[in-house]
């Protein structure tokens, strides 16, 4: 895989900033999303959701709702025999059976002729609840005697961690007997921590806290379901993985997978929030109950109240170092609040805390804790921004305390290839050192003292940087490459394009086959026709599907050359593809067009086999990818307002297949990272009800808040990536929280450990410090 393809001439393929062909249709509103479909007889679904975070359902009366004209179905759990009480995932908990476990949990579903009629029907459903005690705070919820969240005997869900494929070798135990809401525990240990702390000169202890945050995709969850008379279900879905959606829906509804066709529609963002099934099962059930196509589109309020956000992460972190800067010991307790259903990637937290910098002695305990809140899912590099916020903030503080250069201090202790991670796996080839070194060469870093001194009008200025990354996901996949009768190429995968990956895959096919990109078309097929493939998650689409496409294209090229060799009575080794022809090297007149080869593969009575390149690889080697970010800020010490003046993103991408798309990923990731750093938080009251269920009070940053984001690409080839490429999607969401916290300390002298770094936290910390 590592060998770079030898083509006999340069083709327009990898390395070029080719715009996404779907871009113009998207920005002009011509692309059809699920919400735009309008099949004949379409019904609209709405869900009645619990206002209580924890309550017994005493009685549900749907008779008045069913009587409303225009209502075609009103369902409760009693109408769906496949539902089981010990639902292992949110997808299985289609409707609450006799107990609701978070505010916003669906208890009844309506399908009606119009959305407004469905909403009116919700008003007519009478539910009698008996409100129960609530576990709203993870630190309380993990104690014995807390109100239980899951039904006793429900299994922990570790499939999310597996999906991201990022961490092996961490012992994860499930359940302690008394603390009923601790659903997973993990522990990573090495050396003698107590002794190493005793020998340390500088011990720093902090508790870092990152609230639940929402992925904030533009398009809410949406699905359209329709059954045919033979009992086949078609789902038009907004999903990050159509095969995963198919498997989950099949499992929940107890259907064979080949009875379900998932058609992945254009996905208006997912960021991890559209991996797991959510509203697909209930929509399918409503469609079956009504014998009509049924569509469900979540509202923004429902997304915030009952989506699948990132977990709250609380990290108690204690580190000890020698006065000369030698790292001695790290002790950490990471608590991941998963809401009402298990599913956090607990092991990632442990590995990043103890492996990014090399601690000879460490003891990291991880707990996944359930509370009466919506259950969580992945969010772009799940748990990495939270963990890096803690460990990088800590490294910065140690460096300041020791009076050493913070970059040199990090570089001295940063992992290198071959070093042992906390789970005893070796660090694989990565560009961590190169990224941090490149960032530190930036004039904004070199001139940070000048920036600080330039503050005026009562404002304060500072600079901060941070390094983070992602270990990289893996999943088997497949692709085919066909030669068409006119000599063009057709690439087919089942991979959903959520990030501009299809153009990158097409570029890989072009270079691997040996034709220009304008000869290549790529299609994402539905689950009936496409090769089985994995999720668009874990920064692995280009890394894994890229390999499949590259191999399929090489395979198609070899088939093409073999056909040409027979025609030309030449050796395959003497042939090359030149433009739209296969020619004998050195004899440019002797050749055959790709179109003629393609045509013969589809000619009546032809004996020439059609060219069909295929590849279906599985993988075992990850490609860690690092990103460094730098913020130059100004703080108003009276109001706590932070102005971002400049932001720099440096990232190791292995090989930039499409630099413009990568820069877009780097900028988009940085914006989400800055949102986590500065403004975003899902806020709950003591009854576990969301107090900011709108985008007014759940503050994503707007263009007005953001500075120019400079992107610098570093290329340290990944040995097993297609043409050396690494995953690029997740790393840029990781570093900003620590970079901003470090910049705030540089500007104000105040160290903040709770996100978001809001004006209130900054202003009150400054006021109490002075």
């Amino acid at each position: 895989m590592s060998t770079v393809m030898k083509t006999t001439r340069d083709v327009k393929g990898i390395g070029l900033s080719i715009p996404r062909p779907d871009g113009p249709d998207k920005v002009t509103g011509q692309v059809q999303y699920v919400a735009d479909l309008n099949p004949r007889g379409l019904l609209h679904a709405k869900l009645l959701r619990s206002p209580h975070a924890h309550a017994k359902i005493v009685r549900i009366d749907v008779s008045r709702a069913r009587a409303l004209p225009g209502v075609r179905a009103v369902l409760t759990a009693a109408d769906i025999p496949v539902l089981k009480k010990k639902a292992p995932t949110r997808a299985h908990a289609v409707l609450a059976i006799d107990r609701v476990v978070f505010a916003g949990q669906p208890v009844a579903a309506v399908a009606a002729d119009e959305p407004a009629i469905a909403e009116e029907a919700l008003d007519l459903i009478d539910v009698q609840y008996e409100v129960l005690p609530v576990a709203a705070d993870p630190l309380e919820s993990m104690k014995p005697g807390a109100p239980p969240v899951a039904e006793l005997g429900t299994e922990a869900d570790t499939s999310e961690a597996q999906a991201h494929g990022s961490v092996a070798g961490v012992t994860t135990e499930v359940k302690s007997s008394k603390a009923v809401n601790i659903s997973q525990q993990a522990r990573l240990q090495r050396g003698d921590v107590a002794k190493a702390f005793a020998e340390s000169d500088v011990v720093i202890e902090n508790t870092y806290r990152v609230p639940m945050v929402h992925q904030g995709y533009l398009e809410p969850h949406a699905v359209l379901a329709q059954w045919d008379t033979a009992g086949n279900l078609t789902l038009w879905a907004s999903t990050q993985g159509s095969f995963n959606t198919r498997s989950e829906v099949a499992d929940v509804l107890e259907l064979p997978e080949n009875r379900i066709k998932v058609i992945p529609m254009e996905c208006g963002g997912g960021f991890g929030g559209k991996i797991r099934a959510l509203c697909e099962p209930i929509t399918a059930v409503l469609a079956r109950a009504t014998n009509r196509p049924v569509r469900y589109v979540m509202t923004r309020r429902e997304e915030l109240e009952a989506g699948m956000p990132a977990p709250q992460v609380i990290i108690k972190l204690k580190t000890g170092v020698k006065r000369d800067g030698t790292l001695m010991a790290l002790e950490a307790e990471a608590i991941l609040e998963s809401g009402a259903f298990s599913g956090a990637v607990l092991a990632v937290a442990g590995v990043f805390l103890a492996s990014l910098y090399l601690w000879p002695h460490f003891d990291v305990k991880g707990f996944e804790v359930l509370t009466h809140k919506p259950s969580i899912a992945a969010y772009r590099a799940p748990v990495a921004p939270q963990t890096i916020f803690a460990i990088d903030s800590q490294m910065e503080q140690i460096a300041r305390k020791l009076g050493v250069d913070p970059v040199e201090f990090r570089l001295r202790h940063l992992q290198r290839e071959g070093d042992k991670m906390a789970n005893n796996q070796p660090w694989l080839s990565n560009g961590g050192v190169e990224v941090l070194t490149r960032l530190a060469e930036h004039p904004f870093w070199k001139k940070r003292a000048e920036w600080k001194a330039s503050a005026k009008d009562g404002k304060l200025r500072g600079t901060g940087l941070s390094l983070g990354g992602w270990l990289g996901g893996l999943q088997p996949t497949g692709a085919t490459v066909r030669l068409n009768p006119d000599g063009t190429l057709q690439v087919l995968t089942g991979q959903v394009d959520i990030a501009g990956t299809n153009i990158a895959l097409a570029q890989i096919a072009a270079t691997a086959y040996g034709v220009d990109i304008d000869k290549v078309k790529i299609t994402t097929g539905d689950t009936d026709v496409a090769p089985l493939t994995g999720l668009s998650a874990g920064s692995k689409t280009t890394y894994t599907v890229g390999v499949a496409v590259m191999q399929a294209a090489q395979n198609a090229r070899n088939q093409t050359l073999e056909i040409a060799a027979k025609e030309l009575e030449a050796s395959v080794h003497d042939l090359e593809i030149d433009g739209d022809r296969v020619v004998v090297r050195g004899v440019p007149d002797k050749g055959v067009t790709l179109a003629s080869i393609g045509k013969k593969g589809n000619l009546y009575m032809s004996k020439v086999e059609p060219v069909l390149g295929a590849s279906h690889p599985a993988f075992s080697v990850q490609a860690p990818a690092f990103c460094g970010q730098l913020a130059r800020i100004e703080v108003d010490p009276d109001t706590g307002e932070v102005t971002l003046h400049n932001f720099v993103v440096v990232q190791d991408v292995g090989k930039a297949i499409n630099p413009a798309q990568i820069e877009g990923q780097m900028q988009g990731g940085a914006v989400q990272s800055l949102g986590m750093a500065l403004t975003e938080a899902l806020m709950y009251d003591d009854k576990a009800r969301l107090t900011n269920p709108s985008l007014l009070d759940y503050r994503k940053l707007t263009a007005a808040d953001l500075p120019n984001i400079e992107t610098i690409i570093v290329e340290k080839p990944a040995p097993h990536g297609p043409f050396g490429a690494r995953g690029v999607g997740e790393p840029p969401i990781v570093p900003a929280p620590a970079a901003i916290a470090n910049a705030i300390e540089d500007a104000t002298g105040v160290r903040l450990t709770h996100l978001p770094l809001s004006p209130e936290r900054i202003a009150l910390a400054i006021a109490s410090a002075s």
């Binding site: 959305p115 407004a116 009629i117 909403e119 009116e120 008003d123 509202t299 309020r301 009276d638 109001t639 307002e641 500065l678 403004t679 806020m683 107090t691 900011n692 709108s694 985008l695 007014l696 009070d697 503050r699 940053l701 707007t702 007005a704 808040d705 809001s758 004006p759 209130e760 202003a763 009150l764 006021a767």
Partner: protein, 288 residues
């Protein structure tokens, strides 16, 4: 959004008649930037919505002969932000208009909507209080005028009866030796709601403060005046020290709560900071 009947009156009289006939939970629609999200989220389910867009009088601004300003209730935030007459003598009101939502929101959102929604955080309320505006209200019994300070009766509650509507705001001309300023704090630069908003208006005579007005938003159920701070300023030469003292006094007028937008402590802190800043700006503008 639930189904509702939409009424489109073509004049103020027609609107008053429509209101009289409509159910008590009917809603008036001006810009809709507050009403529509509430309808969509099912927080309001009125059977009838009366659209004010067909009534030209509600969209007029009249600045006549030094008599003051009359601003129709359906004048948009964007118009307030840009209108020359408003900017000339009522700058704090223009500044409050300029802070609402985003440009797209400001092209729809109206002065009357901002006031009649009666959110404690309404940006246009503090400048109106600081400018001693009066609300001109009409209904089946004719027109009445209410000082803006008495217009708000609670969170999302006003003196308007179900059959009345706000026609315009009448604002006296503060004169040439007067200056005003409105500032608010939001965590985000735009598309946000004031955690605290402060409007100050200072009128000078013979080097002293003849009249001071300080009004606060989002620190009580209704917008409030900081009268003790005003009194400390009136009759005095306004110095930085006096401004600092007035800012401390303004804090005492605040009765903030802690909510998802900010704690009570932070709100008191902001009242001090923003009062100091708006007074400093108002003083400079009054002198200029």
């Amino acid at each position: 959004m639930r189904r509702f009947e939409l009424v489109l009156p073509g004049s103020l009289d027609e609107c008053v008649k429509a209101l009289a006939q409509a159910p008590a939970d009917s809603k008036l629609l001006a810009g809709g930037t507050d009403l529509l999200p509430q309808l969509k989220n099912g927080l309001l389910k009125p059977a009838c919505v009366i659209d004010l867009s067909g009534i030209p009088r509600l969209r007029s601004i009249e600045a006549g002969n030094g008599q003051g300003l009359r601003v129709g209730s359906a004048v948009t935030a964007r118009t307030l932000e840009l209108d020359r007459a408003v900017r000339a003598n009522y700058l704090s009101l223009a500044e409050s208009g300029a802070l609402v939502g985003s440009v797209q929101v400001r092209n729809l959102a109206t002065l009357g909507g901002n006031i009649c929604n009666a959110a404690p955080s309404a940006d246009m309320a503090p400048p109106l209080l600081a400018l001693d505006a009066e609300a001109v209200i009409t209904g089946p019994k004719g027109e009445r005028r209410v000082p803006i300070a008495a217009f708000f009766t609670g969170v999302r509650r006003t003196v308007l009866a179900p059959d009345e509507l706000l026609v315009e705001l009448a604002i006296p001309n503060p004169g040439s030796h007067s200056g005003g300023s409105y500032l608010r704090h939001t965590p985000r630069r735009e598309l946000d709601i004031a955690v605290v908003g402060v409007a100050s208006q200072l009128t000078l005579a013979n080097g002293r403060c003849a009249k001071a007005r300080i009004a606060l938003a989002a620190v009580a159920p209704v917008p409030v005046r900081a009268t003790a701070a005003e009194q400390a300023l009136e009759g005095q030469a306004v110095t930085p020290d006096l401004i600092k003292r007035a800012a401390d006094l303004a804090v005492e007028a605040a009765r903030p709560i802690s909510d998802q937008r900010g704690s009570a402590d932070f709100r008191r802190h902001l009242v001090r900071v923003l009062t100091r800043r708006t007074l400093t700006t108002a003083l400079a503008r009054a002198g200029a």
